[in-house]
């Protein structure tokens, strides 16, 4: 079946501009995660949504980062006033949200801030 879909696959933006990254999780997956993958830094947890519960925003690096999930499905990660250090691959993952359910990752959005 369809996997996790992210768009755009690549995004180049100028410093100071806002960007929106989109994630379509696997149908029926109630849990959705955003991670950031920077060169040499591995995967950094950003934010987590589970059903209708308040999201866990503990990983967001600054108040320029925000995310929402509409209707329990599609999620948008917004970065305001982008900085060069925001350049990374932003990965979305979803899971069934039940005990021990594995994550399924999208292909990511490669963000380059010039």
């Amino acid at each position: 079946g369809a996997g996790v879909s992210q768009s755009p696959s690549n995004k180049v933006t100028e410093k100071g501009k806002d960007v929106e990254l989109r994630c379509d999780p696997i149908s029926g997956h109630t849990a959705l995660y955003w991670y950031r993958q920077s060169l040499g830094q591995g995967l950094e947890f950003l934010i987590y949504f589970q059903g209708n519960s308040a999201p866990d925003k503990s990983g967001l690096p600054s108040d320029r980062f925000s995310a929402e999930r509409t209707g329990g499905s599609v999620s948008t990660l917004t970065i305001q006033r982008t900085q060069q250090e925001d350049s990374a691959v932003y990965l979305c993952a979803s899971s069934l949200g039940v005990r021990n359910s594995p994550l399924h990752f999208g292909n990511g959005t490669r963000l380059t801030v010039t």
């Binding site: 995660y33 591995g42 594995p102 990752f105 292909n107």
Partner: protein, 117 residues
């Protein structure tokens, strides 16, 4: 909070060589352990996982990993690597029984494996 350490950031091997990638974690409780693989240009895929039971787990493509609780380790092994194993490998851990959130997966920084033909 948990943390994961992967000791080798870059590994270069020849085809047919044996592979062992180290992974150590720190966490005070019971854990689930994972290895994910990211082939060039592709998304992260689950290679294998350990939840409980037999500490030697087998995954796809001939990979296996052994959970050694006393050493807080979950090293990935393969007896004979192939050129197609060239990829980035990530070890990850979360608290046993978690569905995510504050107990979501914590990843290591990854090991870039290059197999030379």
């Amino acid at each position: 909070a948990q943390s994961v350490s992967q000791h080798n950031h870059h590994v270069i091997l020849s085809e047919a060589a044996s592979l062992e990638l180290g992974c150590n974690y720190s966490y005070g409780g019971t854990v689930n352990l994972f290895w994910y693989v990211q082939y060039p240009g592709q998304h992260l895929q689950l290679l294998l996982k350990y939840f409980s039971g037999d500490p030697l787990v087998k995954g796809i493509k001939g990979f296996e990993a052994e959970f050694i609780k006393s050493k807080f380790s979950f090293n990935l092994r393969k007896p004979s690597v192939q050129w197609s194993d060239t990829a980035e490998y990530f070890c990850a851990v979360n608290a046993a029984g978690s569905g995510g959130g504050a107990d979501g997966l914590t990843f290591g920084k990854g090991t870039h494996l290059i197999i030379q033909p």
